[in-house]
């Protein structure tokens, strides 16, 4: 029997809990779908669904098998995608993602350094937010990524954690630009411009929480997909931006924050590859990327997580 095909039917019925709708989504008629489910139940020796005239429900064994079936289907899909890549000759490439606001010179240095280390491999680099990269790693659409923390890193391998302190980008004429350092609380009353939350929700939420903790609760948070748009808002005096060290360009001034209360935390992330040749390619990329981020982007290794002071409260205490 075609087990994979039958499992696909099983998962679809489990998702819809309705034979008619499941058949429609599978592009088949309902009677053969019912027959397939019956055949699969005979093959496995368990009933997968409780069927009554009013509704369809997963049985306990059905629920157990659902995750397994999904897992198998994901793996089968990957077999096809790996085969396709091999057919197209793409297995000689490393597919990697980087944050879209990394900056042109850093991207160029990354590509150059990888070319120097692995001239035999092609680097297929694309820009994407952390959330999208984590999803692509899970789906096998990316081999390696440069992600911002905190993110959902379950099932991922992580390279060294790198920190990059953030300062504030102000209009050059602003009174605050006159001092060499700015207190975060001094930004009170000004709007803030940040990359879209959807790109890295963990880092975004953490940054805003740290701003509030240090006395800066921005009245409005503008989301800028492109650094150019953020720059425009800063120049117009609409908002300030919190960004890594930047040269003072015409009209803007970058100032560090007193006590370095804010930082991006970045690391490489990847899924362990079974094929040793492929694993070596990924290791070469992550080594190069980590070195370039340190050298060109001013990131420094965080040997341990910064010591955070945590006072548990009863409502968030152990087993509350």
């Amino acid at each position: 029997m075609n087990v994979v095909g039958h499992l696909r039917c099983f998962v679809m019925v489990a998702e819809e809990l309705h034979f008619g709708r499941a058949a429609e989504r599978l592009g088949m008629a309902q009677p053969p779908l019912s027959q397939r489910i019956k055949r699969l139940e005979r093959e496995l020796g368990v009933r997968l669904f409780d069927r009554s005239s009013r509704k369809v429900e997963l049985t306990a064994p059905g629920r157990l098998l659902l995750d397994e079936a999904r897992d198998i289907l994901t793996r089968v899909d990957r077999v096809y995608s790996v085969a396709e890549r091999a057919r197209l000759g793409e297995s000689r490439a490393v597919r990697a993602g980087v944050p879209s606001d990394l900056g042109g010179p850093i991207v160029a240095a990354l590509i150059a350094a990888f070319r120097a280390r692995r001239p035999d491999l092609r680097l297929d680099l694309r820009e994407a937010g952390t959330a999208e990269q984590v999803r692509a790693l899970a789906e096998g659409a990316l081999d390696a990524a440069v992600v911002r923390h905190p993110c959902d890193a379950r099932d991922l391998e992580l390279g060294p954690m790198l920190g990059r302190p953030l300062g504030v980008l102000l209009p050059a004429g602003s009174g605050l630009a006159a001092s060499p350092e700015v207190h975060l609380a001094d930004l009170a009353g000004r709007d803030l411009v940040l990359p879209p939350r959807a790109e890295a929700p963990g880092a975004h939420d953490e940054l805003l929480a740290a701003c509030r903790r240090h006395g800066y609760a921005p009245g409005a948070v503008h989301e800028a997909r492109h650094p150019g748009f953020a720059l425009g808002l800063v120049l117009a005096g609409t908002a300030v931006a919190l960004v890594p060290r930047a040269d003072d360009t015409a009209g803007t001034a970058w100032r560090p924050l007193v006590g370095e209360p804010l930082a991006w935390r970045t690391s490489c992330a990847w899924r362990r590859a079974r094929d040793p040749e492929h694993a070596r390619a990924i290791a070469d990329f992550t080594a190069v990327a980590t070195a370039v981020l340190r050298r060109e982007a001013g990131m420094t290794p965080l040997d341990a997580a910064p010591a955070r002071r945590i006072v548990p409260r009863p409502s968030s205490g152990f087993l509350a």
Partner: protein, 312 residues
Amino acid sequence: MSEANRGAWGVVPPQGNGMSDITERIEGEFKAAGVTGWLHAVDVDTGREVSVGADGPVVLASVFKVPLLVAFHRQAASGRLDPSEQVVLRAEDRTAGPTGVSGMLDDVRMSLRDLTFLMITVSDNAAADLVLDRVGRDAVNATSAALDLPNTVVEDSGRELHESLLADAGAATFGEVWARLDEPGVRERLRVLDPLRTSRSTPREMTRLLSLIWRDEAAPAEGCAAMRRLFGLQVWPHRLSSGFPYDDVLVSGKTGTLPTLRNEVGVVEYPDGGRYAVAVFTRSLLPIAVLPQADAVIGTAARLAVETLRVP
């Protein structure tokens, strides 16, 4: 479950666009609060439901005290234990926790049923461990099996959870566990956060258990009434309860909390007689202990689900 009620459970309306819409709205709220969430809400009397990953395996954390309380009342009803028996909790070997007897300094003498009062109303771990010891872990799991909750399993006592948490994190205190959650690999190492390796259930099974309690089917009626009273006296205002800021609505529940995990299961009762069992389990991305938006989204998601169920 009586045949009459089995019939009631069968009446599930066809789930059209309205249902996929509510699922999306609830998932949107979870996302905005920075959490992954699993939810099941069901009308206790008609079986109408809202489901967001309702069959996913979830970590119970302190919600394990709910099946424990049910097993306690079944044993009390059958005469296997005397709920008014006085017991002494010695100061020297007390399970850790922020509330109730867990936080007290001296020996405490109290009845078993008053211990269940503390275990539910303030999630007292010392009280819960003594009750668990008396009822027996196997008896709790046998009760869940007998109530048709095959995926509800209590693996650990509070003390065991505490020890495994500190050992896995390589930490000396609970605060230090939180502080180290940021380190790569630490979260993945913590067994207490993995539903396959700790006490677990599904949102659907938790609303089923609550529905049984509210329909006097989990134990004799007297025991079910005693359980409902305790859930109604739970002190926490920040999760399920925060979603229903209405003086004439009763919210009863039991929370569950471990690093990055925030849960609550409960029943919301309206003056028109409508009653809805809700189970919400969340996991936050941020390794931050005080995260009001992650607590509040439990109430928000529950309210969206209950309001959907209240539309005829």
